[in-house]
Amino acid sequence: MSQPLLETRGLCLSFGGVVAADQIDFSLHPGERLAVIGQNGAGKTTFINICTGFVKPQRGQVFLDGINITQKEPRQIVRLGLGRSFQLPQLFLAHSVRQCLEIAAAARSGHLSWFTPLSDAVDRHEIDDTLSLVGLKDRANTTASYLPEGQRKLLDVAMTLMLRPKLMIMDEPTSGVASDDKMTLMDTVMLALRERQVTSWFVEHDIDIVNRYATRVAAWIAGRVAADGTPAEVLSNPIIQREVLGT
């Protein structure tokens, strides 16, 4: 099999008496669409935080494309190709949708102009493409703070897409979105990721969404990967059904 895109070896982290990561050995390969499931407090977000450099593990290592990123800062990891979207979208609320993407595009180039206007410093077509890709073209000039939650999520993803990541980690991409809109939102996001050939990993509670969009599911229980496999395998596992799905 090809070299894993992301790999962790023996990750351990506890907060006081609470074990958030317990000897996690995990790997993700290019092209996979991973869904992470688990109850609140199982360590899903902690695992994301370790992989994105936000929290340092007490033991163990993280590799991205073979590079040890365990001790790197979030922004260094981002530059190596690991993008992240947030459960609560992290946007520049005072800027327009287009400006948010422009800042992201300028950030990718690594050079922030001092005198060239932002909109001239970036590739206009690329911004337009990404806006169309996530269906925000007609909201381009709307101030981000006026967007409804679903579109905020899309903008959050779009800003990360501007960085041309190899891997996109999404923490609960459908939380806070009306249930009728969840599938439409996921359709858009997953299509965009496929188009840009980005490997993805999302945390999700809705089993229908997991079934529909994931090629692989990992279930977290008390800081451990309790089951890992195809959606059919994991979701039919009796332990997972009892401990995670509560059925």
Partner: protein
Amino acid sequence: MIRGMAWLGFALCLGMGLLFPWSKTPLIMGLCYGMASLGVCILVRGGQVSFGHALYAAIAAYAVAFLARAHPETDGLVLILVGMAASGLVGAVVGLFVVRYRGIFFGMLNLALSMVVFAMLGKFYNLTGGTDGLRINRPTMLGFVTERDVFETILLCLSVVFAASLVYAVQRYFKSASGEAMAGIKSNETRLEYLGLSAKYILWQAYVVSALMVGLSGAVFGLVQGLVTPDIGSWFRSGEYVFITILGGSGHALGVFLGAAVFEAVKLFASAYMTGVWQMLLGLTLILVILLAPEGIVGMLRQKISNSNEGQS
């Protein structure tokens, strides 16, 4: 529209100074207040308010005084540049430390540092002349030995050129990638980091630039007064810069100069007709602005302009 107003305003400054020689000193001082407040304004764009930026005016003014006394033959323009460089250097070092803090901590740390320097300027009598300050003899200006009047005229012209260039450059900066990223510090620092940018580095750059601007203003201020005293670095002066920034608005680089113009006008008016209560008058002005135009004078103007544009179309 606002650009046109800027040209008109600066031309008016120049014209008024040439027509009414008595107005040169207040005009130069007003422009100095504007330039210093523009430095503060840059940081306000990133959501950070410094209550100690007069420190950089003091550093520059004292650097000018020391150099002018040690080498009286130094040209005025060189003195200004050296003053700016000194402020920029101190800003670069202090910046490394203060950009780690945000909000009230950022504001108070700047205030604390400025108070330390203010106290030192007052106490080290042998070096700084204590509260009496240091006299600066009139230097040559652009190579000319001049009378007071011509000296002031040259300083006024220089100040107008500096101010106009700064408004142009800073407005360009506000609209550039760096400037928009700076605004991103105000709205979402986490996102900046996850775009691979260092918020601290962006803020540090802006901090150094702001120190340079306040330094420029301090150097010119010292030269036009012919005297520097610790007052130039007092917390009261720092507060005035913040006052002018809020009064003028941070939406456009011209805002602080409108703020400074109103500030100077109110002060001049009050000192002539309402001596003793001029602070009250300034306070009332600020209250009115905050209530009626929270985006400052420039915000109010922009609103008016966009309204009238909509009315036409």
